[in-house]
């Protein structure tokens, strides 16, 4: 009897937690998600952020990045693009512990332009992914980092 009751409570707790998680994740669409900013490799990040999506290389995305960043703590980036109907822009740094640096949603009354400053752990590619409608485009550029900017 004791064990049965325990099992029942266990089931109840699991069920309610999963229901809570399910509803929470539905409501929190648009909220900051820890799952997006997990420590993991770039391959896994891309896989989880863009499951089964084809990300085409595009010359319509222009990145303004330094060739060499002396200080990995502050790497300036400017993104401009001539792609129509851009919905969101992702900035990723390949070898950062958390590869996803930031994601932006862009309204159509904004120019396709973003300026920001971010941190880089070491020399690697910076990848910018743009979502326009149901299509994904990417551009990448290598940045040489003299002093790493994550942790330390």
């Amino acid at each position: 009897m004791q064990i049965r009751r325990r099992q029942f409570i266990k089931n109840l707790v699991t069920a309610s937690v999963s229901i809570a998680l399910f509803t929470f994740s539905k409501i929190s669409f648009g909220k900051w998600l820890l799952a997006d900013f997990k420590h993991r490799s770039i391959e896994k990040t891309l896989q989880e952020l863009f499951p089964d999506k084809v990300i085409k290389k595009s010359r319509k995305i222009k990145l303004k990045l330094p060739k060499t960043a002396e200080n990995g703590n502050v790497v300036p980036i400017t993104i401009t693009s001539t792609i129509d109907n851009i919905e969101s822009v992702y900035i990723l740094s390949e070898k950062n512990p958390v590869p996803l640096v930031a994601k932006f949603t862009l309204d159509h009354s904004l120019e396709p332009y973003i300026g920001a400053r971010f941190k880089m752990q070491e020399t690697c590619d910076v990848i910018v992914i743009v979502k326009a409608g149901e299509e994904y485009f990417q551009a990448r550029q290598k940045v040489k980092v003299t002093i790493g900017g994550c942790g330390g």
């Binding site: 648009g30 909220k31 900051w32 998600l33 997006d36 900013f37 703590n73 502050v74 790497v75 300036p76 400017t78 740094s93 950062n96 512990p97 958390v98 996803l100 640096v101 930031a102 994601k103 932006f104 949603t105 862009l106 309204d107 009354s109 904004l110 120019e111 332009y113 973003i114 300026g115 920001a116 400053r117 971010f118 941190k119 900017g149 994550c150 942790g151 330390g152």
Partner: protein, 106 residues
């Protein structure tokens, strides 16, 4: 947060667009840095969301991790903006602090 705003906003009107730049005073701690004196880890403290509004219409929402630099800087270009229009920048961090500031385009 201190009574002084953490947000600075500058705007400049050009014939084709209006450039809005913002600088936020925030430490953006990664949680991996050590205190020089005590040798203890400084807990992570970073902005998670930033929103950019033009006349109360949400134009951009940015989700970020601690990969964004200390004292974050962002810039946006609005296609059409007039003198007297209001832009609002607000942020919220992982410890629940937040700030918001209005700016009138000159």
């Amino acid at each position: 947060m201190a009574s002084r705003s953490t947000i600075k906003i500058r705007s400049k009107r050009f014939p084709e667009h209006t450039l809005v730049r913002t600088l936020i005073a925030h430490s953006m701690e990664t949680g991996k840095r050590k205190d020089k004196d005590s040798g203890e880890l400084i807990p992570a403290h970073f902005i998670q969301t930033l929103s950019f509004k033009h006349n109360d219409k949400l134009l951009s929402e940015c989700h970020m991790g601690f990969g964004i630099s200390k004292n974050p800087f962002f810039s946006f270009k609005i296609k059409q903006a007039n003198v007297g229009d209001k832009v609002t920048i607000s942020w919220k961090d992982n410890l629940g602090f937040s700030d918001s500031k209005d700016h009138i385009i000159q």
